[in-house]
Amino acid sequence: MKREFKFLCVLMCLVLAITAFAGCSSGKDGEGSSSKTGTGKTGTGKTEKEAETGKGENKETKTLKWSVWDQKTTPYWDQLADAYMEKNKDVKIELVDLGSQDYQTVLGTDLSGGGSDFDIVTIKDVPGYATLISKGVLEPLDDRIKEDNIDLSKFAGTTEQVTVDDKLYELPFRTDFWLLFYNKDLFDQAKVEYPGNDITLEEYDKLARSVAKDGIYGSHYHTWRSAVQLFDILDGKHSILDGKYEFTKPYYEMVWKQQEDGICRSYSDINASQLHYSAAFAEGDTATMNMGSWFIGTMTASLQSGEYDKEKCGNWGIASYPHPEGAKAGSTLGTITGLSIPTSGENQDVAWDFIRFVSGEEGAKILAESGNFPAAMNDEALDIITSVEGFPQDEASREALKTSEIYLEAPYSENVADINSILDTYHKDIMNGDISVDEGIKLMDDEVSALD
């Protein structure tokens, strides 16, 4: 008995010692022929990664694995891949759908530890971008950008906001910014003039209240923090990286008052019924809604397919985002979606060629055709977007697409992922009514300053 016990003890200690050493080396072990097929559907059939080493003289098909989300409901992913494959017959692009809810978490997990199978990864948001950079899994793109003479000014200043230590790790291909969507029929019924393209937040509040009545909501705020907290970064004087969040107070109070007066649905209601913002607007009982430009694509596609009822929300328009007093008209929040090359990728040159394609003019055209906004916006793309069937044809809606300043919802900083988590948690507590706005702001201040 004693001998066995001793043996067990020695075994345990050995295991402890070995595991303590195992983490020390961060080297990537060659995964060899690990055929990971990802968590979702692939764009083109089975995984067939042909060996690059010595396959003879014939042109080998290079397979690139690309991580995306919502592949089924967002047509441009496949469209971009197909267009590139048309032009480059020796490349096969396989899309892997990681789902949109936890996309950055799943991607981060995949890129952790040893190698991953991805050649191109899509970056969904800046906190995820910051996390991947700190994990050291993204390739800097500056040398390639210089080599190919890519002019970064066409990205309207967004690339500067995500440059880290003079290095750029992603090339944006899609920019989205926030707009005010409104239901023209409800405005006509209430005999109120449509919102123009230069309204302050006070005017917006009054507008929503003037259209609201029993059964009709004047406004709708989705449960995301960006829908409520970020009105105030539009004067360019504040951002979520500040560490002091007193500037968010007036807008929390505005939204809370609207909730209390029944102008908009309450946060806890929306949460409990898990109501999606598209459903809220499509129901036809919401007069205005602040949402991102990606919703334009959703509206046009769903109205065309008949999923949304034309009677309820067919007569819709967009206006420039309401801004604080003193800020420029056309100032709005924005996000960029970009493509990066993981350091473990094996076909980096081909991947770069694809990234250039997507971020360039050809990619821009494809994105515009499905109603999305390419990062390298030009007049041609603008024309395409506004001529998509179902896009509101009034002049004001066209003008609303011209933005003056786009402030990234989450500009880069080393701690942006942690800051994001903290702000999200207390935003939920404030909106649920668990704590008061003042308490929430104090907690945000305290915890963000506690980070280095």
Binding site: L16, T19, L111
Partner: protein, 303 residues
């Protein structure tokens, strides 16, 4: 000389028997060792480091643990998990025991009721939580509608607000788990010999006395098992919390966050694997202590 050979022979047989025994256990044990035991030990080591999954590990001693006790979200998660446990365990135990006792009698449609009671346990969690959320919706759910219009309650409660969310989670868990533990109690009840009840009747015991002096003591090892399983299951709560309190985006706020959720967040969203492991170790210690206390109590009872 002969004795030594005899002893060797016996030992050889014993060794052979042991070998066969171990080879039967081996497959399961290897799986356990590789997927559970070694990762747990690894996590224990990780608790003393700072690591994000890619960059080299840094040894930081007890820093993670000292940080823990000043972490507001951790303390909230700890508090919520403990309250949830204290609420769910006794209620489930009582409910399942009561159901088992009733359904052990010759009641009409007994088989049907037993099936109905067991059903919530096997039903898909996502499906039942969706329905549950709809039922308890503060403004549009039937529960509050009934409270308001039938029972004339002026302000029906907000089941998902900070005051009641844990209660809602507890109610849901009790409903979900009762069936399973009822089956366990049924098995226990059927192991009680009928003679004991006959003897009791002879002594003039009424129903309550029969329960208190015969049924309950006879069930005490079943109860012990039920309470331990319930405690461990409740400390590990995650899916129920996220489905009921998570809202559309699956995020938990301060009033509904639980330990396992917090560990997940820290590990795979914030990539602070060392800190997450430290929290996991605290959870492990907590469950271990509670289980040891119960074992100790059980041993005392047996004496």
């Amino acid at each position: 000389m002969v004795e030594m050979t005899l002893q060797k022979g016996i030992r050889r047989k014993e060794r052979k028997r042991n070998l066969i025994a171990y080879s039967f256990i081996a497959p399961n044990f290897i799986g356990f060792a590789v997927f559970t035991l070694i990762p747990v030990i690894y996590a224990f080591v990780l608790g003393f480091t700072k690591w994000d999954g890619n960059n080299p590990m840094e040894f930081v001693g007890f820093q993670n643990f000292t940080k823990l006790f000043q972490d507001r979200m951790f303390l909230a998660a700890l508090k919520n998990t403990i309250i949830y446990c204290i609420g769910t365990v006794p209620l489930t135990m009582v409910a399942s025991l009561a159901l088992a006792v009733i359904l052990n009698q010759k009641v009409k449609f007994r088989g049907f009721f037993r099936t109905v009671s067991f059903f919530p346990y096997v039903a898909s969690l996502v499906a039942v939580t969706s329905v549950w959320n709809m039922l308890f919706h503060p403004t549009r759910g039937p529960v509050n509608w009934v409270l308001q219009n039938v029972f004339q309650v002026a302000n029906p409660p907000n089941w998902f607000g900070k005051d009641l969310i844990l209660l809602t989670m507890i109610l849901f868990s009790v409903w979900k788990y009762t069936g399973y533990y009822m089956v366990i109690y049924l098995a226990g009840l059927q192991g009680i010999s009928g003679e004991l009840y006959d003897a009791g009747s002879l002594d003039g015991a009424n129903t309550w006395q029969k329960f208190r002096y015969i049924t309950w003591p006879q069930l005490h090892s079943t109860t012990f098992f039920v309470v331990i399983m319930l405690t461990i299951t409740c400390f590990k709560v995650y899916d129920i919390a996220v489905m009921i309190a998570g809202g559309g985006d699956g995020r938990l706020g301060t009033s509904s966050t639980v330990l396992v959720y917090y560990i997940c967040q820290k590990a795979f969203v914030n990539w602070d694997l060392g800190y997450a492991s430290a929290v996991a170790m605290v959870l492990f210690a907590l469950v271990l202590i509670v289980t040891l206390i119960q074992f100790r109590g059980e041993r005392k009872l047996q004496e």
